[in-house]
Symmetry: C2
Subunit: 570 residues, 2 copies
Amino acid sequence: MEFDILLTNARIADVFRYRLFEGWIGVRGGRFVAVEAGDAPAGIRAAETHDLAGRIVAPGLIDSHLHIESSLLTPRRFAEAVLPFGTTTILSDPHEVGNVAGEAGVRWMIAASQDLPLRIYHSIPSCVPATAPELEWTGEVFDAGAIQRLARQPSVIALGEVMDYRGLLGPNERLRAIVAAARENNLIVEGHIPTLSGLELSQYLAHGISSDHTLTFAAKIQEQISKGLAVMLQTKSVTPENLAAVADLPDRSHIILVTDDIEPSLLTDGRGHLSRIVALAIECGMPPLEAIAAASIRPARYLGLRDHGAIAPGFLADFLVMDDIAAFPPMQVYVGGQTVAKAGAMAAPITRENPAQPDYPGIPGNFAADDFKLDCHGRGGSAQAQIVALQNRHSTLTRLEQATVRLQAGHALFQADDGLALASVIARDESSRTVGLIANTGLKQGAWASSVAHDCHNLLVIGRSPAAMAQAANAVQRMGGGVAVAWDEGLIASLRLPYFGLLSDEPVADVADGLAAVEDAMRGLGAHQTRPFLTFSIMSLSVSPYAKFTDRGIVDTESRRLIQPISTDV
Amino acid sequence: MEFDILLTNARIADVFRYRLFEGWIGVRGGRFVAVEAGDAPAGIRAAETHDLAGRIVAPGLIDSHLHIESSLLTPRRFAEAVLPFGTTTILSDPHEVGNVAGEAGVRWMIAASQDLPLRIYHSIPSCVPATAPELEWTGEVFDAGAIQRLARQPSVIALGEVMDYRGLLGPNERLRAIVAAARENNLIVEGHIPTLSGLELSQYLAHGISSDHTLTFAAKIQEQISKGLAVMLQTKSVTPENLAAVADLPDRSHIILVTDDIEPSLLTDGRGHLSRIVALAIECGMPPLEAIAAASIRPARYLGLRDHGAIAPGFLADFLVMDDIAAFPPMQVYVGGQTVAKAGAMAAPITRENPAQPDYPGIPGNFAADDFKLDCHGRGGSAQAQIVALQNRHSTLTRLEQATVRLQAGHALFQADDGLALASVIARDESSRTVGLIANTGLKQGAWASSVAHDCHNLLVIGRSPAAMAQAANAVQRMGGGVAVAWDEGLIASLRLPYFGLLSDEPVADVADGLAAVEDAMRGLGAHQTRPFLTFSIMSLSVSPYAKFTDRGIVDTESRRLIQPISTDV
């Protein structure tokens, strides 16, 4: 009997029976080959032996629903950010990169995920584009053929969240063909179910949907479990009320903890990645061993990863050594029997290079102040405008309002306290653009521009001053993508995101600092949102209630109708 | 909204939450598309509507570990036998046919399972042969290549039970390669773990084994669950003590009910197939809804059959209509939304033909009494014999004894009450044969012969009279396989098994009657076992303790050594 690693005097987290037991562990060839109660027998040889002195060994955490792009990091930098906090396996849905760079973008994300110490499986984004191509400029339009081709990649195990639930139930034949192709290829089909219940929920699920991760509540959990879904709890769903409802279920195997979207500032706040959801669940009343199970063996089994997610013989030796059951960051993180992180930091930097980026639509540039004139059809003096008004400082909800705006040579003349700003979306291929008015951003001067502009990630520019808007937009173009804040005289702050205009290949701390500087600059110009970058970058999300900007105009997101920002009948 | 079938006023079995609820169900295209609480809304149209008046709708039962061959039926006749009692999906391990006819035999079983109303998935038998080729004549020897080829069949999802656990831990390189090939092909690997625990269990599981279905007890269940296994309870394991241990587990998702081996006489006793295990579990204290779950959604999820095993939207419309939760046979059995059985009988006979049998080693014949002489090397008078002695009437356990036998012209001269009989195994290709002595069969006269002779299924003949042995053996050969009982003057009873010498294509009632007649005839000759056919047919199982016959001699099953039945040093 010989092991690569022998761990003695461990307290082993049993995620099948929700208990700790004292025992010893042998690892060979990257897998557990001995997980035994009691003391290790004499005479066992091992290349390394560690006396754990009663420390806990728990499985590495498995995140079964997330978007790497929310971190603004490339896969390798994302791996460096999350491994020290114990996330060892993820299912990544590269929805944003897919929307910018299509099939080649998804293939790049898959290639960039290979040979990392983080095990990365992939969902094929189902909603490329997220909305109808006539509402905005989009890159590729995925069809069933794209799904068939991408499903052949070994790391692809799912179709990403089917967000267009109304389309699936109704007119979206292309989406139905995509879902059918996914099922033919035996992919899991991830759901996105903010509002459906009863018969409408059943009709949506009848297409083979198997999970939901949107905001939930007790009655929703109960109905979804009874209809066979995996119920994924992300931060906002982990509440004492929900966990009490969960505790009443006799079979909790499909109650799973996920992150979905975690921003750089959260990744660097000391609470980590999926670890933060585990800790929150424990705070809200879930027993600690069960919280670990809900982030390890449960997602593993749900995803069909039969040798992931437990400290058990034959399973992959992905594990955490901790002082207490949910003491994050772990003292050590192992993947495949190798130490990858210690005391909250990577044991060694990831040295593999990113693959070359494919061709994709770049970022428009060379703007002048006059590019941000309102299209008032040659009439001077004033224009009748449709205005997208933010409802409050804490959400991305908007409503449509009407007002008359004073103009000078096409340029809006703002009052000091009118709360208005210009918003412009320029298609990545410059084939079309909009300039309109937005209310309640808080901006008093200057401008913000970003190539992160959900979900099509055209160039989005919001500002009080056309000259500053040109400065910010040109800065984004010069960086090859990113976020910039400017006033008329030049740049105040910027964050470079040169991968697809979405991702940085810098360390997470630098990206978090860069984004913090951008948000500080936004606040300096008057922005007053809780999360100004996120709020601004969603002002182009044409599926998000109730009115948003695209390069074609303003989309009434409920009726899916395009509205022109400036009426021609002034 | 239009359905193929609308079921109103149902009590729906929720196998996720272990409850019944009143509601209605819509089926379209063979799947559930509506499973709703309350009354069906007005205005729904359906091709058929059934008011269930409070009857129960439960999922069809899923048997995740069995051997069709134990029923002595071809797959289509097996389907007819089990569907009326609510088994709608099975995982079949064609271990016996594989041992007789190799890869072609497994392919035949797969082909014969297509287009039946029973959903049949397959395991590739891992132990072809079950033992070492030097101990007995075997057909093909499966290697990793056979696994790779067979894994490409869409219905293949597992490698069959890895019975040679000592071989896997020790010298059997071929078996290790087979298991590795199965894992490379993402097959589930079924275990067979009668005795291992602790570190030996872990070493066995380290090869990727994921289930056990052998006789179990509370401590074994607890260890196996903690080591990540699916614990499958068959008849002999369903006890009040075991179910009490199960009830204490917080996660019972991997406690599963299975049949393993069910004989024709049981299939016709009115308690059915997996239904009998469900009913037994309820009698032993498992809550009824949980017993249904343990035979539906749990095996479905374990097997990765994501749309099987529940009454839920998107799931296959395989369901049972019953008066009470475990009232078997169900009033109706549906598969894919079609009625396949009613009130314990098939709704319509299965009309599809079997595929043509492949070439395989036939059954030896043309025997004369002198073929059953003892090989006493030309010496007359007496011989020193090694005797395989049955230990009791209720088990297949044997021990090896020594005695001196009187001979006349090579033929054994028996005493009236010596309890002895002759046992002979003739290789299917007639390349070798044994004649030896067996004790405590009860036989006083006549003979029994069978081409069902575990696990290699050579021709096994047991009798008091060489002339009767020749009669019985020749009858088996004339039938193209089967079981025969004869005395010197001719046949007493027989059962024809012309498919591989293992299976009948007659209805289960006829096969059960035929086997009953064979066993009555065996008893008439003196056989006194509880299950004489089973006991006799296992006298050639060279892995079954402690001594068994093969065509090469007697195998000491613990040391895996061959012993000659007659010593040369008389």
